[in-house]
């Protein structure tokens, strides 16, 4: 059992342990899941360190490499006759995503310390969901990738359906169906890849060597990109996100918005762009237009929202728009920005939803107009919300700025295959979102936290408890660390994006420019 398999198995074992503890002992259940996720955090740190030892020396050679290089690889044949194997590996991109997920699940468990009703199933399902997510980020066999992808999506239904609030069945069903519709597109794309490559293998690294005919790429790329886009809240397919997040319990929407939506961006980059460069070039502009709408649409939509969770859901639609915008820019800065944005937005939304859960736990209302002046009563939460807000509108010093500046520069610098002026105008339109984001973040924050205390019995509310302080503290610290010292994350990621960029340049004819 290699290191990476442990990363996937640890949450699963914790889930089993939780299942076998008697339902009455909710405290035990919480402590077991906390210890499990805590241990996982340590394990992730150790893996990152090991990965860094292996990857650092090769960073230079990756500049010209055309094929991605996996580290800490585990390869066990599974269905030989079909070329399916249990293949785990890690490179810069998936390592950063694993770190993100590990942080989010740890803080997620902490943030749901108050869940009492059927706590056993809740934590078990949460851990199964995160096992699926780890599986996706670490697997490099398309079949295994798809399998974990669906394992990650399914517990959502029960988590939202049972512990949710408001129209929970409706939104749980809508969320699950739309995500599964996305995965339907994926299965078409993956099988297309498998058969057209004629190499009788699902191994991503080997499929990269096959050259897919342009006609195939023309329809396969959009299928896979939109399949992942549905999860990455691509414009017309994002409608599940506001409802889904609004009625999901705190930890679930933390995990979902923070991590699951990143599967979309990750998959689009890893499978769609990497394997189908020709298709990426044809469709790049189309998806850039779509994601520009995504960015502005999400931020404008968030301004007039009454419910805090819808407010955050729309903001995460806009931020996920950045991710896909970066991927569609098809150049080094764009894609690097996309991965950075995935990381930073994951932490940010995790923080937002944790805070909203805590505020809701106290004021029992999520309606912005009904709240006001909470800063006086709960300063810790107010400051964290302020930091989260500032990070989301791209204030330098937090990871938001690092990611957004990459995406804007990537968008502005364009690529040799798409018309430069259109791409620049799209980037300019997308840049306007920094103002609109500022408007809705400040509006929301001011109305909820600043100003006089609206409701007399708000005075009786307490500030953050220890578990809440730790979870919000960890998230804020991550935002700040990546913001102040971005080179930690950038060096990790850049080496593994180069192959994708080189493949784009190598495939087909490239215009002289750069």
């Amino acid at each position: 059992m290699g290191l990476l398999s442990w990363l996937i198995v640890v949450p699963f074992i914790t889930a089993l342990a939780v299942i076998f503890t008697p339902a009455r002992k909710t405290a035990w259940i919480k402590w077991i899941s906390l210890v499990g996720t805590g241990f996982h955090l340590v394990l992730t740190a150790f893996t990152t360190w090991r990965f860094w030892q292996l990857a650092a020396p090769e960073a230079a050679s990756m500049k010209t490499a055309q094929l991605m290089k996996l580290h800490l690889e585990e390869r066990i044949p599974w269905f030989e006759s079909l070329g399916i194997q249990y293949l785990l590996g890690v490179d810069g991109i998936s390592m950063s995503m694993v770190i993100l997920t590990s942080i989010i699940i740890f803080t997620g468990v902490l943030a749901s310390w108050k869940v009492e009703e059927r706590a056993k199933e809740f934590f078990a399902l949460l851990l199964v969901l995160v096992t699926g997510v780890f599986g996706v980020f670490l697997s490099f066999d398309l079949f295994l990738f798809f399998m974990f992808y669906e394992v990650a999506v399914l517990p959502m239904y029960l988590l939202i359906g049972i512990w949710g609030t408001g129209p929970k069945e409706y939104s749980a069903m809508k969320l699950t169906l739309m995500l599964m519709m996305g995965s339907a597109l994926l299965i078409v794309g993956f099988l297309g890849l498998y058969h057209v490559s004629g190499m009788n293998t699902f191994d991503l690294t080997k499929l990269a060597e096959a050259t897919f005919p342009a006609s195939f790429q023309k329809w396969a790329f959009p299928a896979i990109f939109i399949g992942f886009g549905v999860l990455g809240a691509l414009y017309p397919f994002h409608t599940w996100s506001p409802d889904g997040h609004a009625s999901a319990p705190t930890a679930v929407s933390m995990l979902h918005a923070g991590v699951l939506m990143k599967l979309g961006g990750y998959g689009a980059l890893r499978v769609a762009v990497y394997l189908l460069p020709e298709g990426a070039k044809d469709w790049g502009l189309f998806f850039m237009v779509l994601t520009t709408i995504n960015i502005l649409y999400g931020s404008f939509g968030a301004i007039t929202q009454k419910d805090l969770k819808y407010f955050t859901a729309y903001s995460s639609v806009s931020h996920c728009g950045f991710v896909l915008f970066g991927v569609a820019a098809l150049n080094l800065m764009g894609m690097k920005g996309a991965v950075l944005q995935m990381f930073s937005h994951g932490v940010m939304t995790g923080l937002f939803f944790a805070l909203i859960g805590m505020v809701y736990g106290r004021t029992h209302t999520r309606m912005i107009p009904e709240m006001g002046g909470l800063a006086k009563v709960m300063p810790w939460l107010a400051v964290c919300f302020y930091i989260g807000g500032m990070a989301s509108l791209g204030l330098p010093g937090f990871s938001g700025f690092v990611a957004e500046s990459h995406v804007f520069l990537g968008g502005f610098f364009g690529n040799p295959w798409t018309d430069a002026t259109i791409m620049r105008t799209l980037t300019v339109i997308a840049t306007m979102s920094i103002v609109v984001t500022a408007v809705y973040v400040l509006r929301g924050m001011a109305k909820v936290f600043l100003g006089p205390v609206t409701d007399p019995h708000f005075h009786a509310l307490t500030d953050a408890t220890l578990t809440e302080r730790i979870s919000t503290g960890v998230l804020v610290a991550t935002l700040a660390v990546v913001g102040v010292m971005p080179f930690l994350l950038i060096d990790l990621i850049e080496a593994s994006i180069m192959p994708i960029v080189n493949r784009l340049h190598a495939s087909g004819v490239t215009v002289a420019l750069h």
């Binding site: 809508k174 649409y297 700025f401 400040l442 600043l450 100003g451």
Partner: protein, 654 residues
């Protein structure tokens, strides 16, 4: 570097490190436990950084500038790498204007910290106030010492954020919250322009840098302002709507500057920013943050000069703002609002000074920096003086004050010095810097701007003397004013120091230190004719104000107000710009854009999904409706199906 750098220059990073670590230490550890201690530690830290700045300045000067001052970047490390020629370095640039700004910022900031110890005594968020003040000082220093445009942008945003916190310090007051939001959003809108400008510069800079190869970094000022790069930039040809690309980029960058320095269209946030505590206004909205725009233009002056017409725009906007603000200032009743508009007007001064400067007539560049230098001191003094008056009278309304000359002697004396300084009366600093600006304007042939400048000088003298007379002369108009007493000594020390600086600053031989281009250009001395005109305007203003308000009453000015009728009311309401701003944001953006999008998403896009769900259900029930229960219908479906199958097999066979 022929000879070894001094201690300060070698570890120049201390200038940034001290305030940053003190911010972290105070903010995270000291504030929650001991707010009082937090204040003291913060003030000490800023004093330390001030000391270090002076040491740096002395060492830099000792390097000697006989053949033009060298700009050196003693320390920088790669912070954020986008691409090979596109990396952002955090570092410290040392050249005349950055040393000047470092000195000014640290001095004013330390004095304000000292003053706040007294002013904020007994406030609820005492520790929080000092943390944000420390953060502001750090970000201002980072802005000033930025060796590349992106570090300046990073610091630019941090300055905006800390000013948001400081303006919104009294977060329980809705008006303060509103003001802080407005400030942040307006400056953020301006920063959008700045970012776009940076993107354009970065893109074309990258092209040039990648051709040049080596370690050239597209964002560095040294790279941007070196001659052949500027040549390549100006040769770039037309960009959007036919405007040459360089000018377009610079105008966008200037938009960021205009936002921060509250130039005409984006000035609406500065008067409302007075909601923050007065020391904050003194520091941020008088001396430091607002001059960031001027500093930006100064830093990119060579580029602006090459593009030519970008400078013209800067000049005209600067001039218009100074007149516009001066006119409004005459009608305001709130002492801090008056000072805010006066700052606006003086910033207009500095901007158009830069605007008139060019390669041939670089005097404007020096004049603007000189005015920035002197203005920082006397404007800070005015604000702190006003602060101690408000502290005593507990109100901002000048009509509630009066007769404080006797009760607050020190404040009165320092306030008088500052008023004379801003009015441009001879021994005081204002006279020298204003005179240089007027000389620069006249020298470079902008006579229109020169006359405007003179008029503004008069107006400035008038409204400053107006609030002076109404506040200090005549009888106490209210209960509070009657038994007001002098502020504690901790608030008075900074006033005295600033007063001394307001006088002394004028005599500093600025020409040798800050000048553009090696040539000595025009004689630095005072041009008697302009000096006389300026002083005359100032004296006229003061005299006219004396006439109207010498006994601190309003009835004589009421007569003029009624005579002006509608026009007066227009000016008094600040040309209704605030209402326009509210209309644009609430009516247009919220109601006509945001709400429809939210509605559209909820009904149309969501509707699409629900529709597909509904149609699936309808198709499902239609199919299950076919199950009528009649066996023979099934039979006929069966045989019909067989026939259909035959046809499809027959038709579709390969």
């Amino acid at each position: 570097m022929e000879h070894e750098l001094g201690f300060a220059l070698r570890n120049a990073w201390l200038i940034l490190a001290i305030p940053f670590f003190s911010f972290l230490v105070v903010g995270l550890f000291i504030r929650p436990r001991a707010p009082k201690l937090a204040g003291i530690v913060a003030t000490l830290a800023v004093f330390a950084s001030a000391g270090f700045a002076y040491a740096l300045a002395v060492e830099y000067l000792s390097l000697g500038g006989h053949d033009g001052w060298k700009t050196i970047v003693p320390w920088s490390f790669e912070w954020l790498r986008f691409q090979e020629h596109l990396a952002v370095h955090i570092g410290v640039i040392v050249d005349p204007i950055s040393v000047l700004l470092m000195v000014v910022v640290t001095t004013v900031s330390s004095l304000v910290h000292l003053y706040s110890l007294g002013y904020m005594h007994g406030e609820a968020g005492f520790g929080r106030y000092f943390t944000w003040l420390n953060l502001f000082t750090f970000s201002m220093l980072a802005l000033v010492t930025a060796p590349n445009i992106l570090q300046m942008y990073v610091a630019w945003e941090l300055v905006g954020a800390s000013s948001f916190c400081l303006i919104g310090y009294y977060f329980e007051k809705p008006s303060a919250v509103e003001a802080s939001k407005k400030a942040f959003i307006v400056t953020r809108f301006a920063d959008l322009g700045f970012l776009l400008g940076v993107l354009i510069l970065g893109y074309f800079g990258y092209q040039i840098a990648s051709e040049a190869g080596g370690s050239a970094q597209a964002f560095d000022f040294l790279f941007l302002t070196n001659p052949e790069v500027m040549g390549k930039f100006s040769a770039l040809g037309a960009g959007l709507f036919g405007i040459p690309l360089l000018t377009l980029a610079l105008l966008l960058v200037y938009m960021g500057g205009a936002g921060k320095s509250a130039m005409f269209p984006l000035h609406i946030w500065l008067p409302d920013a007075m909601e923050g505590p007065t020391p904050v206004s003194a520091l941020i909205h008088a001396a430091t943050m607002v001059v960031a725009g001027v500093y930006l233009v100064a830093r990119l002056f060579p580029l602006f000069a090459t593009s030519g017409d970008a400078l013209l725009v800067v000049a005209y906007i600067g001039a218009f703002t100074s007149v516009f603000a001066a006119v409004i200032a005459c009608t305001q009743d709130d002492i801090k609002r008056v000072l805010a508009y006066s700052t606006l007007s003086q910033l207009g001064y500095m901007m158009f000074a830069l605007g008139v400067a060019s390669f041939e007539h670089p005097l404007g560049y020096t004049a603007s920096m000189f005015h920035l230098f002197t203005h920082a001191f006397f404007k800070a003094l005015l604000f702190l003086g006003a602060g101690s008056v408000i502290h005593a009278v507990h109100s901002n309304e000048i009509w509630k004050m009066g007769g404080l000359k006797a009760k607050m002697p020190v404040t009165h004396a320092t306030f008088a010095i500052a008023t004379l300084a801003i009015a441009g009366i001879w021994p005081f600093a204002g006279f020298f810097s204003k005179d240089e600006i007027l000389a620069a304007a006249l020298g470079s042939g902008h006579t229109g701007i020169f006359t405007l400048g003179l008029m503004v000088a008069g107006l400035t003298a008038f409204y400053m003397s107006r609030i002076y007379f109404v506040t200090f002369w005549g009888k106490a108009k209210t209960e509070h004013a009657s038994h007001a007493h002098e502020s504690p000594w901790i608030m008075l020390i900074p006033l005295v120091i600033l007063a001394v600086l307001s006088i002394g600053a004028g005599f500093v031989p600025f020409g040798e230190f800050v000048r553009f281009g090696a040539a000595h250009g025009e004689a630095h001395g005072i041009n008697p004719m302009i000096a006389a005109a300026g002083t005359l305007a100032g004296v006229l203003g003061i005299g006219f104000a004396w006439l109207l308000y010498r006994d601190g009453l309003a009835e004589r000015s009421g007569v003029i107000a009624r005579a002006l009728g509608g026009g007066y009311r227009l000016i008094r309401n600040k040309f209704y710009f605030d209402e326009l701003y509210l209309f644009v944001t609430h009516k247009i953006i919220f109601r006509l854009v945001a709400a429809p999008i939210a509605w559209f998403d909820r009904h149309v896009v969501d509707g699409g999904v629900n529709l597909s769900g509904w149609s699936a259900r309808v198709f499902g029930s239609a199919v299950s409706y076919l199950q009528t229960g009649q066996v023979q219908t099934y039979g006929s479906w069966f045989v019909g199906g067989a026939v259909l199958l035959l046809f499809s097999l027959w038709m579709l066979r390969a």
